[in-house]
């Protein structure tokens, strides 16, 4: 699987990223008290279709829906159901789509109504960790530089880090090499080269980093039931600053 994408593939990935950003604009307007997760997923599925794209999660390794919507102590991969959002909930919406022969991946955490300051901080600093990680995603750096940047934001703000799941290469498949852990050191892992496409996705919690997979085989929850947040962008490595495609 080509880790260095061709010019044409990168152009398509940039377009795909813009379309995914459009889907997230729709989600942002939609999330509100008493909206059900299924409603959000249906709207996402329809919007992806309207944009001439294909939902990349649907039927991926048997996943039944077009998006993962994880609420409160659910970290990732929660299957949207008829749960209605309440005041004080936080939810992470994770969406991937295929455009022509390329795919991109993105995630965003939202809060509903009023939440504690500590919960707000969780969301703000998980996003900050993503942006700090992206800053280190330059040609010549190792994957570990991204991991170290993400880890230091969590440590600085006393947040739990989920270690069992990682970011990953993306572009020609939903999951490609390399893995991008949320903890690490500067010299770890592959050296980044221009033309590589990465999905960086820090996952932080208000408690510890241990997670459990529920009997449905998909939903991942924190072992201590603490709230979790995640942000994700698909980026292109260049000789200069990385290009964030999903903005």
């Amino acid at each position: 699987m080509g880790l260095i994408k061709t010019e044409r593939q990168l152009d398509d990935i940039k377009i795909a990223g813009k379309r995914l950003a459009t889907v997230f604009k729709l989600v942002k307007d939609l999330v509100n008290i008493s909206v059900s997760l299924e409603e959000i997923d249906n709207a996402v599925a329809q919007k992806i279709k309207d944009l001439d794209c294909k939902a990349s999660f649907l039927n991926y390794e048997g996943y039944p829906k077009s998006s993962c919507i994880s609420v409160n102590e659910q970290v990732i991969h929660a299957i949207p159901n008829d749960y209605k959002l309440k005041d004080g909930d936080i939810l992470t919406v994770d969406i991937g789509l295929w455009y022509k022969k390329v795919c991109v991946d993105g995630a965003h955490t939202y809060f509903i109504g009023k939440v504690d300051k500590r919960v707000e901080d969780l969301i703000i600093y998980t996003n900050e960790a993503l942006m700090e990680g992206i800053k280190k995603a330059k040609a010549g750096n190792h994957v570990g530089a991204i991991s170290q940047a993400i880890e230091s934001v969590a440590v600085q703000h006393n947040l739990g880090i989920v270690r069992n799941y990682t970011g990953h290469g993306v572009g020609l498949a939903v999951h490609e090499k390399p893995s991008i852990p949320n903890i690490g050191k500067n010299g770890d892992g592959m050296i980044l080269k221009p033309g590589m496409v990465l999905a960086i996705e820090p996952m932080f919690t208000l408690g510890g980093g241990e997670v459990i997979t529920l009997p449905d085989g998909w939903t991942v929850v924190t072992a201590d039931n603490s709230m979790a947040a995640q942000f994700e962008h698909t980026i292109i490595i260049t000789n200069g600053n990385p290009i964030i495609t999903t903005k």
Partner: protein
Amino acid sequence: MAKSEIRFDGEVIEAKPSAMFDVELENGSIIIARIAGKLRINYIRITPGDWVTVEMSPYDLTKGRIIKRLSESDSKRMSKDKRNRLREIEKNRKKENIEITQNNES
């Protein structure tokens, strides 16, 4: 969608009893790994010198599970990368030694 587990590529250094192997990962650390059932069932042999993919739990970074033996071309590429890495480290070490000697002389 996040990718699960942590996977590293490494070179098999030594075969141990009970189908366990010492594997040297790309970051230099040596772990002990067992063979995944899928490889056993399909009679895929692992020998020292092979390059493999190891799946590990982040809660115990000394143990792993060999889930894939890399192809000929991938193995050649990994060996070449490792030789280049070691050459770089040797070059840097020699450079440091020269600097230390020069500092001592002056």
